[in-house]
C-alpha cells in the first residue's frame, strides 16, 4: 500500500508521521510505502491514504489552514476523498480539512488563548470505523495535544447533525471516560477532539496519535488509530 504524507511549507509533524506510520506498518507485517508528498505536486500518482500532518502550514497566517487549502495538492486530496479513500488530518491537518470543506466546523483559539502541550484522555466514540476498529467500545486513549487553536466550533445545526449521525470520533474525558467540562483543555463544543465525515472515511483530530505510538514516549495508545487504518487499508 502507499501512504502519502503531505508536506506543506511549515508542516512540522511530517517526520513524526513518517517514522510512526512506517514503523507500525513494519511491526504489523504490512508492506507499506510511506513517503512525503510535496504540496506543489498536482499529479502525485495514486495513494491508498493521505495524511495531513500537524505544524504551522504557511505560518498559520490569515487563519490556520486557510492558505494551505489552496495548495495544488489539495485538489488531489479532495478528489481522492471524494472516491471514498481515507484521509486523516492531525492538528494542523484537521484545521486544513475544515478550511477546505472536507469536514464541517472550525478550530478557534483555545479558551485560555495560550498554546497547550500535554497528555489528555480521549473517549473513542465508536469503534466500527477504519480508524478505530482496534479500539474497544468507548475505549479511553491517552494521547497528547499540542495546539494554540484547537477549540472545535460548529453552529448548533451542524453540531446536532454531527451528534445525531454519530460523527464525533473522540471527546476529551477523564481517565474513566467521563466527559466533563473540567477536562476539556481548549473549550471545544461538546468536548470534541476529533470528527468524521459522513462516510467515516475522513478523520480530523487535534490530538497527535503519532506522538503516542511507542512505549518510551509515555503512552502507546496512538498506535491503535494508526494500525487500525493501516490494517483496514490492507484488507
Amino acid at each position: 500500500m502507499k501512504i502519502g504524507i503531505v508536506v506543506f511549507p511549515g508542516s512540522n509533524c511530517d517526520y513524526d508521521c513518517l517514522t510512526s506510520f512506517s514503523r507500525l506498518a513494519k511491526e504489523n507485517g504490512l508492506t507499506a510505502e510511506v513517503g512525503y508528498v510535496w504540496h506543489k505536486e498536482s499529479n502525485p500518482g495514486t495513494f491508498d491514504a493521505y495524511v495531513l500532518p500537524g505544524g504551522f502550514s504557511y505560518g498559520d497566517y490569515l487563519r490556520c489552514g486557510a492558505i494551505a487549502r489552496f495548495s495544488p495538492i489539495m485538489e488531489e486530496v479532495t478528489a481522492h476523498a471524494k472516491k471514498g479513500r481515507p484521509v486523516i488530518g492531525i492538528c494542523n491537518g484537521f484545521q486544513i480539512l475544515c478550511e477546505s470543506g472536507l469536514l464541517p466546523g472550525a478550530l478557534y483559539m483555545n479558551r485560555d488563548l495560550n498554546f497547550i502541550c500535554e497528555h489528555v484522555y480521549l473517549r473513542t466514540e465508536r469503534n466500527d470505523t477504519i480508524f478505530t476498529s482496534l479500539c474497544k467500545s468507548k475505549e479511553v486513549l491517552n494521547i497528547p495535544i499540542a495546539h494554540g487553536e484547537g477549540n472545535y466550533y460548529a453552529d448548533d445545526e451542524t453540531l446536532k447533525k454531527l451528534e445525531d449521525e454519530d460523527l464525533v470520533a473522540f471527546r476529551y474525558c477523564t481517565g474513566d471516560g467521563l466527559v466533563t467540562p473540567e477536562v476539556n483543555p481548549n473549550g471545544s463544543r461538546n468536548n470534541i477532539a476529533g470528527i468524521f465525515n459522513k462516510e467515516r472515511t475522513i478523520l480530523g483530530m487535534m490530538p497527535h496519535p503519532e506522538r503516542a505510538a511507542e512505549p518510551g514516549l509515555g503512552s502507546s495508545d496512538g498506535q491503535k488509530i494508526i494500525v487500525s487504518l493501516l490494517k483496514n487499508i490492507a484488507k
Partner: protein, 764 residues
Amino acid sequence: MVESLPKDPLITPELIADHGITPDEYERLKGILKREPTYTELGIFSVMWSEHCSYKNSRKQLKNFPTEGLQVLIKAGEENAGVIDVGDGWAVAFKVESHNHPSAVEPFQGAATGVGGILRDIFTMGARPVINMNSLRFGRPNSGQVQQLVDGVVGGIAHYGNCMGIPTIGGDVYYDETYETNCLVNAFSLGIMKIDEIQRGEATGVGNPVFYVGAATGKDGIHGATFASTELTEESEAKRSSVQVGDPFMEKLLLEACLELFQTDHIVGIQDMGAAGLTCSTCETASRGGSGVEIDVALVPQREANMTPYEILLSESQERMLVIVKKGREEAVHKIFEKWDLHVVEIGHVTDDGLMRVKYNGKVVAEIPAREIADDAPLYDPSASKPKYLKAVSAWQLSELPQPGSDMTNILMKLLSEPTIGSKKDIYRRYDHMVRTGTVVLPGSDAAVFWMREADKYLSLAADCNGRYCYLDPVMGSRIAVAESARNIVCSGGRPLALTDCLNFGNPTKPEIFWQFKACVQGLKEGCEAFNTPVTGGNVSFYNENPEGAIDPTPLVVMVGQIDKKEHITTQWFKKEGDAVCLLDGLQDDSLAGIGGSEYLRRIHDLKTGNPPCMDLKKEKALQDALLKAITSGLIRSAHDVSEGGLAVCAAECCFTAPMEVESEAVKLGAKLDFTSVGSRTPRPDALLFGEQQSRVIVSLAPENVTALEEIAKEFGVKCDLLGTVTGEELEITLNQGTLIKAKVDDLKKAWRDAYKNAAGLSE
C-alpha cells in the same frame, strides 16, 4: 576609490561617540584603513567592534577556559557553534545565547528572535536543530510589569520554537529582585548531524559567487549589537527600532532549504546573518577563508524603498543567510531556494585581496581589510577591584540567625510556594515539548532527556546558575553552576560531555563588576577541569544594569551529556511503595551548612548574605562517579539532587513531581524519613532541612539493593545514609525521634503547583 554618498552625514566627534567608538578606537580604525572612514565604514566598525560582536572586554578572560577534549570536533570561537562527537559518526552542535536587552524592551519579539538567532547558529553548522531550552530570570512576580514580561517572553519563545517544530524540553527560571528591570533571556539550541556533514563559515575559492538567501532586508534591528552593549535607561524605549521582528515560518523554510542544500556539494561555506547582519557575515567568512569578499548591496532584496548602504549593511532583519557557492553551481542553488519560495540572489564574489569591499550600484562605499576588522578588534583588560559588600557577606555567621521555632512544616510550605522552587508547568505547557517524538523524559525532572531517533542516542541536558551564590562568592557560585549541571546529568543516568555558557553581567568598565566577571570565569574554569567538560562556545552579555545597579552575576551553564543505554535513564520522583530512601553525601561538612545564600535565608529571613554553599570539586566528582556507577549497575529507581530549598524541598519533590498525564491522576507517594544520621553533622534543624549544602543526592531503590549501594559509596569515599522508606500519603521527617515535618503530599503538591499563581496574586 572609496566614495562617500551625497546624503552621508559629516563625521564629527559627536557622530563617532554616538556610534560607541572611543577616540582611541577611532585612531586604531584610521590606522587600519590608513585614511578617514566613510559614514558607511564608520557604521561597519561600530557594530563589529561593539562588545556584542568583538568581546573586547571579555576575550582575554575567556581564553582561560578549557576548550579541548577528545569529544570536541569544533572548538569554541572557531565557528558559529561548537560541535562534539557523540559516537558512530554522529555529532551535535549546540550553543546558548542571550537576548536580554531586546526582551526587556519588547518581550515577545525579543525572546522570539533570541530563539530564531540561536537556531540559525546551529543549522548554519549543517545540523538539524532538534532541542531547544531556555534559561529565564525575572523580578518578583507580584508586579504587573514582571507578569507582562513573563507572559511576553514565554509567548515569544513558544511562538518561534513551536512553529519551527523543535521541542523546547527544559531550562530553568528564577524570580528575584535583582532581575526586576533587567530580565535575562538565554536561549539554547542543539542540532544533530553526521560528522561528514559539518558546514563551515568560510569564503574560499577566488571567483566563487556569494549568495544572499532568505528573507528580505528591512530597517529593523539597525544597531542591535550596539544597543546590546550599553546599559538600559529610560531612553532605551526610544531605541525600540533596534529590536528585530521574527518570522518563524520564514525560518522554517530557510532551515529546510539549507538542509536540502547541505545534502549537495554545491557550496564551500555558509554563515547566518545574526548580530551585525550582512556586515558580520561578510567579513567573518572572508576572514576565516583568508580571502576577500566583494558585494553590491544594491542587489540585496529590500523590504523598503531607498535604503542606504549603511542601513542595508547594519540591518539585523531575521531569517537570512550568506552562502558561498561553487562557481558553476549557481543554477542548482537557485532551484533549491526557489522551491521553498525564498529570495536567492547573487550579490558578489570571493576575491584574493583580503578586503571586504562593499559597492552600491557599482560605486565602492566601503573597503576594509576583512581579517583586521573581524579579528583585530581592540582588546581591553578593564581594571578589577573586589566589591566592598563581600566583607560583610563573608563575616556573617549562622549564630546571627534566631533559633528556628517548631513550625518547620509551615516553612517547607512557604518554600514550595516560592515561584523559583515551584512548578514551571504553566510555562512549559505553552512550549511544544513533544514534537519529533524524542522527549523521553518530559520537563520537570533534574535533566531533560532526548532520544535522537536518527542516531539512536540519548542526550541529557541541564541548565543551571544561582546568581545569588555568584553575588556572594563568584568563584564558588560558578563552580556550583558547573557542578550542579553535571550532577543533574548524572542524576538522569548520563555522563557530562561538554558545556556552553552565557555570561550575564553588569557594566564591565566598573571595576567591581569586572572583578565579579573574572572570578566567575575562574570558577567556571575550575568546574570544567574537574568534570573534563570543555566549553564549546557561548556568549557574553554585559551591561545588564540600570540606574539602580547591576544584576547578580549570572554565568549560566548548559551542560550536554550522554546516556549510554536506555535502561540507565533515571528520573527524580519516587517510583514504588516500600522502596528505601538514601542520601548520598559527597561533602559531609560545611560550617554554614548551606544556609548562606539559601532560599530559606532570603525568603524566610529576608537576608541576602553569608558565604554560599561550599563546592569541593574533588568531593563532588566522587559523588557523581559513585551515583553514576550505582545507576549503571541498575540499583537506582530515582535520583534527585539537593539544591534550592535544601533536603526538605528535595524530599518533597521526590514525592510529587511525577509527570501529570492528567493532573488528577499523577502518581503521588509519601515517605517516612529519619534525618538523625544526617542531623548529627549539621548544627541545627533549619540548616538540616533547608540548607543548600552541595554534592548531595536523594535516591530511592529496592531495599535489597541498599547494601550494594553502600559498598559503591564506600569505594568512592561518599557517605550513604539510609533515611527511610517510600510509603503512605504523607511526608514525615523526624530527628532524634522528634517530628520535624509532617504534611499530606497532596497539600505540599498544591503549594508547589500554584506557586507562581499565588506569588503573582492570580489564583482564583
